[in-house]
């Protein structure tokens, strides 16, 4: 299946990696220097344009680079810690940002020098994100922002936030929004931990009080924020549902490990349930691979939404089965004290924690119910929901 052109491309990539490794030997060069050099060599994300950390190659070519660098023991950019930047902020900046913004933001985003967070949801705007009310008012070359954001992971570590605001309250909700990059260290930005059902606080509330955002940090046109945000959210769903996993990776592996190592826990009913879920998880894994093949072939399908729906359902069922299987050990919980994890993990690796944490999977990144609406309308072409707020100015909406 490998064409001569593809194999020449692979050779070229390997050569570039070897050049990087010999000019910046990982064992003797500072981690950050190495990552910057990798970015400048176009080997950060090969699908990005030249000059912005990439080489304009198909996405699947990244694997050649990653495999070579991993084999050489080179440091990575800790992708788990900067997932929002890589998965959501970067594609948005690339698609809608100015040339100056791309040059300024993408390199430190990718190296992890500048962590990004997402300032979208509000207490009064969850599934109905377009109803959000954080106001941005122009003042000279700046915007003055006031409002409250919620469910912001990594806000306490972040240097930048992707921020959606209301700039025109007199038009219907989808029309009057504008998108910004927001300096999280600026005056008026207050981050407070938001303690969740697991006991810890992965997420934050962010209070914005007279925050001054320069117009040069606006992403996309004034009033075009909904379109920009929609692009970001599509990337989020791909990021949540589309990770490559080996067979029995993720939540399933926690259950099969216990099954194999503790035969005394097995019962016919749990066996039947385990096999049912094993098959579903394996089919979901193959669906994820199919999605990646579509992306690599440049024909992305709507499978991203399907993968997200499968993934949240599976994590919940598997984590529930695990506790049932564990019996007495399933009664235990490791630690309810308030903690601040440094990375987001969609199901964790401790049984009781996974059960509680996975409940968030069908809420974060679009609730299951909203995603089913999206599939029904955009994929299957079924009629949209009746929209009573469609022609109503945002300021007149009941709330």
């Amino acid at each position: 299946m490998t064409t001569p052109a593809a194999s020449a491309e692979t050779d070229d990539l390997r050569n570039r990696v070897q050049e990087l490794l010999s000019s910046h030997p990982p064992e003797s060069v500072d981690r950050l220097d190495f990552l910057r050099a990798r970015f400048d060599a176009g080997l950060a994300w090969v699908a990005y344009p030249e000059g912005l950390g990439g080489l304009g190659l198909p996405r699947h070519r990244q694997r050649v680079v990653d495999d070579e660098l991993a084999a050489a023991g080179a440091p990575d950019n800790s992708p788990r810690k900067i997932g929002i930047g890589l998965g959501m902020a970067a594609p948005t900046i690339l698609a809608f940002g100015t040339e100056e913004q791309k040059q300024r933001w993408l390199r430190p985003l990718w190296t992890g020098e500048e962590v990004w967070c997402q300032l979208f949801s509000e207490p009064g705007a969850g599934s109905d994100l377009a109803a959000l009310g954080t106001r941005a008012v122009p003042d000279g070359e700046e915007w003055v922002v006031n409002g409250q954001k919620v469910w912001t992971s990594m806000a306490h570590e972040a240097r930048w936030g992707i921020l959606v605001t209301r700039t025109d309250p007199d038009v219907p909700k989808h029309a009057g929004m504008t998108y910004f990059g927001c300096d999280m260290r600026g005056p008026g930005v207050e981050v407070r931990p938001l303690r969740q059902a697991t006991g810890e606080a992965e997420f934050n509330e962010v209070f914005l009080t007279d925050v001054r955002v320069p117009d040069t940090d606006r992403i996309g046109d004034v009033g075009n924020g909904w379109r920009v945000a929609t692009g970001t959210l599509m990337n989020e769903r791909v990021a949540i549902g589309g990770q490559a996993t080996p067979r029995e990776g993720g939540m399933l592996g926690m259950v099969t490990d216990v099954w194999r190592s503790r035969p005394e826990l097995r019962t016919p009913g749990t066996h039947a349930e385990l096999l049912e879920l094993w098959v579903r998880a394996e089919a979901a894994r193959i669906t994820g691979e199919r999605l990646r093949q579509q992306l690599a072939a440049g024909t992305p399908g709507p499978e991203g939404s399907a993968a997200k729906l499968m993934f949240s359902d599976l994590n919940q069922k598997l984590s529930g089965l695990l506790l049932e299987l564990l019996g007495e050990d399933g009664l235990a919980y490791d630690d309810w004290t308030m903690r601040r994890p440094t990375e987001v993990h969609f199901h964790g690796n401790r049984p009781g924690y996974s059960y509680v944490r996975a409940k968030g999977n069908s809420i974060e990144g679009g609730t299951t119910e909203v995603l089913l609406n999206i599939v029904a309308e955009r994929v299957l072409g079924l009629p949209g929901e009746i929209r009573v707020d469609k022609d109503v100015p945002w300021k007149d909406l009941p709330r």
């Binding site: 299946m1 067979r247 029995e248 099969t256 099954w259 194999r260 035969p263 097995r266 016919p268 066996h271 039947a272 385990l274 096999l275 049912e276 094993w278 098959v279 579903r280 394996e282 089919a283 979901a284 193959i286 669906t287 691979e289 199919r290 093949q293 579509q294 072939a297 024909t299 499978e303 399907a306 729906l309 499968m310 119910e369 995603l371 089913l372 609406n373 599939v375 029904a376 309308e377 994929v379 299957l380 072409g381 079924l382 009629p383 949209g384 929901e385 009746i386």
Partner: protein, 367 residues
């Protein structure tokens, strides 16, 4: 398992799909199928002959040197998907899949070219409910090169020119090609896949495999059958989903399209997710079969377990969401329902395939 086969259709596969779909739509629409099921000879030999001649459907995985199309099980799966959509009554599963897989695995070169060319129909004589991993059948015995016994519920037996018969000989399991047999039709739940009981009375036969080779060949044929059947089930599920969604858009009650009710939208979206899962599983199984990937046994068991249940759900949703019209004889929904339910039992129920996975990936109940 380090690298996946392509799970997307190639340009050639897309072209094959279009050709098959066009032919079946022109020659064997569901109203034609519905007319045929109540006749004495429901099989549609003209459609089968045309399909075999134009697409090589009778011998896709057989090399050109052996009279086949020189393609693979991937292309066979493409045709199966279309047959699952149309339910055309042709001996594809019995001969082009099960029979051909058995002949290939047994290393037969005498009968295979005639079967691959579509000149003769060679049906594997096993109950359609057989599954990969079942014990070798004992209902037919061999004495002095002559076979005696019976096999029930054989798919496509009515149009078989020859049978490939698993039989117990003096030296244990063996596979035979038999030309002389009696067939009596069964009234089948799935009216679009006629079943027959075959009886052999000291029938002369030609042995094509014996001992472990016979056991392996039968196992291989049933594995291929279950893997290809998954694509048929996928096609049926796709057809049911599309038909139901179309109906939800055109049917008005309470002054609105019934597809605007969220309860129904969510059911269709959930089914779409299930069909998406089934598509990935079926393509992976076909890809593994085509290259004899070491992961084939697991891939087939997963595809069979997933696609069986998704096809049944899709057909059941199709009946329910069509309301009254979906329960009538003249609407095709009942044809899809019966095929889906019979397919769920055919070549291993989902539970049997899951039990097989428990063995293959070391997740036993005991031990």
């Amino acid at each position: 398992m380090t690298s996946f086969p392509s799970l997307l259709h190639s340009d050639d596969e897309l072209e094959l799909r279009e050709t098959v779909r066009r032919q079946l739509a022109a020659r064997s629409g569901w109203s034609t199928v519905l007319e045929r099921v109540e006749t004495d000879s429901p099989h549609d030999p003209d459609t089968w002959r045309r399909l075999a001649a134009e697409t090589g459907a009778a011998g896709l995985p057989v090399g050109e040197d052996a009279g086949g199309a020189g393609a693979s099980w991937r292309e066979t799966a493409v045709v199966a998907e279309e047959l699952g959509r149309s339910l055309a009554i042709v001996p594809f599963l019995g001969s082009a899949v099960l029979g051909t897989a058995a002949l290939l695995a047994a290393g037969d070169t005498e009968l295979l070219p005639q079967v691959a060319g579509g000149e003769r129909t060679a049906v594997l004589a096993v109950p359609l409910s057989s599954w990969p991993g079942r014990e070798f059948p004992t209902s037919v015995t061999v004495e002095g090169g002559a076979l005696t016994g019976s096999v029930t519920s054989v798919a496509d037996a009515a149009v078989a020119d020859v049978l490939i018969v698993p039989a117990q000989g003096p030296d244990g399991p063996s596979l035979w090609v038999v030309e002389s047999f009696e067939t009596s039709p069964r009234t089948a739940l799935d009216m679009t896949r006629p079943l027959g009981d075959v009886t052999l009375s000291a029938a002369p036969g030609r042995q094509i495999a014996s001992g472990q080779q016979a056991v392996d060949a039968l196992q291989q044929a049933l594995t291929v059958g279950a893997g290809i059947l998954a694509s048929e089930q996928l096609g049926l599920a796709e057809q049911c989903l599309e038909t139901t969604v179309a109906y939800l858009k055109e049917r008005y009650q309470f002054g609105r399209q019934i597809g605007s009710f969220q309860a129904l939208k969510h059911r269709m979206a959930t089914l779409w997710v299930d069909v998406t899962r089934a598509r990935a599983a079926a393509r992976y199984a076909a890809g593994c079969l085509a290259t004899q990937d070491p992961d084939t046994a697991v891939a087939v068991a997963v595809a069979a377990a997933v696609c069986s249940d998704v096809a049944v759900l899709a057909a059941e949703e199709c009946v329910q969401l069509h309301g009254g019209i979906g329960f009538t004889w003249e609407h095709p929904a009942h044809l899809w329902l019966k095929r889906a339910k019979a397919d769920q039992i055919a070549l291993g129920t989902p539970d049997r395939h899951r039990s097989r996975i428990a063995e293959l990936v070391d997740l036993p109940l005991v031990g």
